[in-house]
Symmetry: C2
Subunit: 205 residues, 2 copies
């Protein structure tokens, strides 16, 4: 019974994710995932300069991150999951219907901070970015393989905060489950690595 | 249907958690939770000096942390959840049955790194420690309230790694959902704060 219910949840989600792709049309949708405090909000803040951006902000509670990201040129839709550990396609569809998609080239979704559950849910995105951070340690790809397996781009953020981070171990862990995704290093305090990330994103346009 | 299945999952879990309490007897069980990379393993490594300790190590994959923690005096049981985002009482019961409980005063459980889902599952523990870390940012209690609500002790780890951490904001966020839990600061590189943590734990003996 439990197994059947889970299968139905995934099947329903995939159906709505496909609808989201149709709603998005030419707008490129990016699902930004990672553990709490990896720096997802700061990465999206920098990515606004790519132009014509809308943002969907997923959190259990508060609109702290949405407030940081909202400005006169950027629509930000807040989704609060209360106890939910991930966004699903239905959450995202509600938000897409509130965004001025005709004027947007990009929609960035900041998923709930969680290195496990969000990877199981297709939101209708074209690109998955997984944000890791140096202070979280270089063993994370080996310890949380499902999240890193489906990533299109992987970021090591906060590279200024941990001099002991082992880049070689991290990359080896990634290549164990994901042969293709580029691995970029960013520091959101200085903006280092953001232009390179934008170059990778633009390949999807 | 989905709601009924979830209710049954929690009810079954609570039943097994109660069995775990009976299995544990006088041994004090501590559930250590927190986001990936907060430093749960390093905290438990230091806590071994409290004496007569067994460890249950929860990870999606690998036995990296169990290898770090195992020594001639410490039994460590590895649980791999594969894709599971939390430990449940049934996982823990399997591990308890393998530990030499008669010789143990303490069982430390390292839960899967996740600041959302593990808080929903009673494992039969007497104490919940939530490990946050300074580089993850001081807004986390407001953004992930369920995890901090049920904590008995809250730790801010890696205090050496982020000079900008706002202790006042963090504490204010905690007190919004949890009026009682002590908030301790630790640095696992130097061992700072560990003796204070042990004093708090000993109150439960």
């Amino acid at each position: 019974m439990k197994h059947e219910v889970i299968q139905k949840v995934f099947k329903d989600n995939d159906f709505i994710a496909q609808q989201n792709r149709e709603i998005l049309g030419q707008t490129v949708c990016v699902n930004v995932m990672g553990a709490p405090g990896a720096g997802k909000t700061s990465i999206i803040q920098h990515l606004k300069k790519i132009g014509e951006v809308g943002i969907i902000e997923g959190d259990l509670a508060t609109d702290i991150d949405a407030q940081k990201l909202r400005d006169s040129e950027t629509s930000v839709i807040q989704l609060n999951t209360i106890t939910g550990c991930h966004l699903n396609a239905s959450h995202v569809q509600q938000a897409l219907n509130k965004l001025p998609l005709k004027n947007l080239k990009w929609v960035f979704i900041e998923n709930v901070g969680n290195l496990v559950c969000p990877s199981n849910f297709d939101l209708g995105e074209e690109i998955r970015i997984v944000v890791a951070s140096a202070p979280q340690g270089s063993d994370k790809p080996l310890k949380y393989p499902p999240m890193f397996r489906t990533a299109n781009i992987i970021i090591i953020n906060k590279t200024d905060l941990d001099a002991d981070f082992d880049y070689e171990e991290f990359e080896k862990g990634i290549r164990n489950v994901n042969t293709n995704a580029p691995i970029l290093r960013t520091n959101c305090k200085t903006g280092k690595g953001i232009d390179e990330l934008i170059l990778y994103l633009k390949k999807y346009q």
